[in-house]
Amino acid sequence: MTTTLSGLIRLTAAQMAVKLRAGEITSVELTQAHLDRIAAVDSTLNAFLHVSAEEALQTAAEVDAIRAAGGTDAEALHRLAGVPIAVKDLIVTKGQPTTAGSKMLEGWMSPYDATVVQKLREARLPILGKTNLDEFAMGSSTEHSAFCVTRNPWDTSRIPGGSGGGSAAAVAAFEAPLALGTDTGGSIRQPGAVTGTVGTKPTYGSVSRYGAIAMASSLDQIGPVARTVEDAALLHELIGGYDPKDSTSLHQEVPAFSTHAAAHDVTGLRIGVIKQLQGEGYQTGVLARFQESLEALRAAGAQIVDVDCPSFDYALGAYYLIMPSEASSNLARYDGVRYGSRVLPEEGPLTMERVMGATRAAGFGEEVKRRIILGTYALSAGYYDAYYGSAQKIRTLIQRDFDAAFEAADVLISPTAPTVAFPLGAKLDDPLAMYLNDVATIPANLAGVPGISVPGGLSEGLPVGIQFLAPSKQDARVYHAGGALEKLLNDDSGVPLWAQVPEVEEAAQ
């Protein structure tokens, strides 16, 4: 099959890599095709906060030159060398702005690269730019970005999920074949679910957090965003591994996730259906696709078992104490003293406290302030035991539920999100309703276990996500199960879900 230049962007990252290696296309062509796509659709989608065409093309030209020269340097090129990528704007990059979606960091340039960005550079993936997100990754719709609202390519009147809506929308709309995300309570998986893409939250500590602007340190993880399970696995292989700069980093060899993603055979695989993550609060259409996925897996030889995780009922409550507590601390550094924005009080004396106060009042959005206030309260003397302390106990109970569940099952399964993408603005005034989007994704963060969201079909014309969870350090299992389900559903419908995305209205040239 021949591929037109504009058709290039509809390949998978793995296919792009094959064509680059074979010399059928150049990285400059591939990168330019994506830049053209961004120019065409991003004024509608707003997936990107910053596009770095020049830098991306330069990296692409370097890859092409090395490949053209041949020899050992060409052979030593990383498998994904020359395949462009987008980076969530929560991850710091030298030479490109990093805003975390906040006015607070508008115009700030990081003097250093995140470890994962360093790995992208070493592997020579052209970095297309920085993607939009909820401010400091706080949100489930990307509507809390201080700069713009990202739209879902499946229906531009709807949210792309959050906080990593920019990365998910960019990948779904062929603006980038790959992207990096961060997942604290579902910020990779839930956007993946509602945009019909694949996203993995790796085992806590398996991908370095160095350079990911912290929201909740004990929950944050960087992970891959892609259109296929194999592509996510390839990117995960590249960014994973021990980093001496992150002391919570695990000493562990990175397994060949892509091999597991391509294994497909689920005969005898024990898949545990979590009782607590279905039923009330989940849309009928979502549950219908979920049941079909279970049937498909069962038909392919998997053993479907029920597992009970009673503490999951308290996960959301525990999460909304631990996350804001850590966030209130992590965001204390934004005070206008050293970097980022500084706002002077409009009247009265210019004291240090008042400048800090004015800066934080103007620099942070409502949702960020809400969480800082919640967290400050939860950590206060006299309340610590009742709130933060109790939440940590719930966390232990959730870990025990997982341990017990993984005695009975090799992987667990649930819908990724309770609903399909909702209309923009629908939940903006109801924080609790917004928080409920993460009910199925949060337990994995609290326990540190890996999770993946893969497309599970459409409901009302909108994507539904299916989540697989595995024990800590067994990320290979989510790629195995995810890859298998992806193949079963693709074989059934004849065309991958991601290829069915409607054409985004292109901006007038």
Partner: protein, 505 residues
């Protein structure tokens, strides 16, 4: 401010002690001399251009993460052992949260309820030789803050025209040693305060975990003082005098605070729980900020750091590396060297114990070693505006110089010149003596001629000597020295004079 002009006059120290029992408590911060900072790879160095010894981690830039300095943990364990503490098998860091521009993350990473070392003691020696035991509550690891300089007349952040911040110190490893309340000190309280801080400084110096220079803030002391009526058992309200940075200041601060508290209590007032600032010039303290036990730092375990765990093997290996405790070592050396109390005290005060010990070990006598280090070497160091230890005089050099004197090849005066030439890079002592022809003139010819000349020019002196006043020979030695450019052997001169006059020596 809480400073009031109407604060009652301090009582005299004697009167205060008649009525009240002081209770002391100390928090001593020790800055470690590790190559890098507590949680980052930025250099840990003093005195450089502001904001040069920094990287993204100790500046708290977005996205950065801390990593514990293993060397600092070793230093903390060693200090804990030297303070006779138990060492935790498992301990965590916590975030102590407050907004202040010298702390780039707006929290200090410290240990809260899980210190690495706890429940120890240190025996301090008082002036009369008595030993007083100070119990240690805990020693924990933390990071230092940056340094603020406030421009303007106030010298404080309030009312400053502007403030400058230097983050070179931000993240420097600290160990904070906290005592249990010290009771029963009585009138010796100020002395105990000085002796305790001195003992801690000696220990960290001996462990070589800190430069231990108080004037640079390597060792800083916060002194807590409270009074309770004689015979009472419930502690009074305490004040905390911050950053008292010399041994003498610690002694004076405790002395003053006892008097100040007593004055207030006698007048029927009550003590404000607050921090106080030490004023060196007036030897008083002034009010700082109110401090209550309810200060809310919103501590919680630092999620970016994994817990520190220790093993018995590791601890024992570190224990085996511990040097002899400084107090024991001093007792041993004082006996071995047979110095007088005053001589020994001077040596300790000059910080030359190590040098003298090494020199004695290299073969010099204790007396000679002291003479050189406390005498000529200290003088030269003074002249060259440095420390004796920093001059670069090797013990072997002193032994060699002494050998040349003992062999009669040079005299003391020449030896001093040789040392100076040595420091100017002219080589070893023997080499210098040879090259410069400084060997003592004691052979018959030249020396006899010089003596004869001196006797001829000083007939009155010769007369006195001949009359039996042998001490008068001294008046002939000067001219002989002049003639021989100082290279004459004074003993030999005396011998020749007596021989010439036919007197039995």
């Amino acid at each position: 401010m809480t400073e009031t002009l109407t604060e009652p006059r301090p009582l005299s120290f004697e009167e205060a002690l008649q009525k009240y029992d002081p209770v002391l408590g100390f928090e001593v911060h020790v800055e470690l001399n590790t190559a890098t900072k507590m949680f980052s790879s930025a250099p840990n160095a003093f005195g450089d251009e502001p904001n040069t010894n920094v990287n993204e981690v100790c500046l708290g830039l977005p996205g950065t993460l801390p990593v514990v300095n293993g060397k600092a943990v070793e230093s903390a364990i060693k200090l804990g052992l030297a303070l006779n503490c138990s060492i935790a098998e498992y301990c965590r860091f916590a975030r102590k949260q407050y907004f202040y521009p010298d702390t780039p993350k707006n929290w200090q990473t410290s240990q809260y309820d899980e210190p690495i070392a706890f429940d120890g003691y240190v025996d301090v020696e008082l002036d009369d030789g008595e030993i007083f035991r100070v119990e240690i509550e805990r020693a924990h690891m933390e990071e230092d803050a940056g340094k603020l300089t406030h421009a303007g007349t106030s010298g404080r952040i309030q009312g400053a025209d502007y403030s400058l911040v230097d983050y070179n110190r931000s993240g420097v490893p600290l160990i904070e040693i906290v005592t249990k309340p010290i009771t029963g000190a009585g009138e010796r309280a100020p002395q105990i305060a000085r002796a305790y801080v001195s003992a801690v400084r000696d220990i960290v110096k001996a462990l070589d975990i800190s430069d231990a220079r108080m004037e640079r803030g390597n060792v800083r002391c916060d002194a807590n003082v409270s009074l309770m009526p004689k015979g009472a058992s419930a502690f009074g309200t305490r004040s905390e005098t911050k950053n008292v940075n010399s041994m003498r200041a610690v002694e004076h601060a405790v002395h003053f605070e006892i008097r100040r508290h007593a004055g207030i209590l006698e007048a029927g007032g009550s003590i404000v729980q607050e921090t106080r600032h030490w004023q060196e010039t007036s030897r008083t303290t002034t009010s700082g900020r109110p401090k209550s036990d309810a200060d809310d730092y919103r501590y919680f375990p630092e999620p970016d750091l994994v817990p520190v765990t220790t093993t018995a093997e590791w601890i024992e290996a570190l224990r085996a590396e511990l040097p002899e405790p400084p107090a024991e070592r001093r007792r041993r050396l004082r006996e071995a060297w047979a110095y007088s109390d005053a001589e020994f005290r001077d040596v300790v005060a000059a910080g030359l114990l190590d040098q003298i010990e090494e020199t004695v070990e290299s073969g010099a006598s204790a007396a000679a070693a002291r003479k050189w280090w406390m005498g000529e070497i200290s003088r030269l160091a003074n002249a060259r505006e440095t420390e004796p230890a920093a001059l670069g005089v090797e013990p072997a050099t002193i032994v060699e110089l002494n050998g040349l004197i003992d062999e009669g090849r040079i005299n003391d005066k020449i030896a001093r010149q040789v040392l100076e030439h040595h420091l100017d890079g002219e080589g070893g002592p023997a080499e210098i003596v040879q090259k410069r022809g400084l060997e003592v003139v004691s052979d018959g010819g030249a020396l006899t001629a010089a003596v004869e000349k001196a006797m001829a020019e000083n007939p009155d002196v010769v007369e006195k000597v001949a009359a039996g006043k042998l001490k008068a020979i001294g008046a002939l030695i000067g001219p002989v020295m002049k003639e021989t450019r100082g290279q004459a052997d004074a003993g030999k001169v005396r011998e020749i004079v007596l021989q010439k006059l036919g007197i039995q020596g």
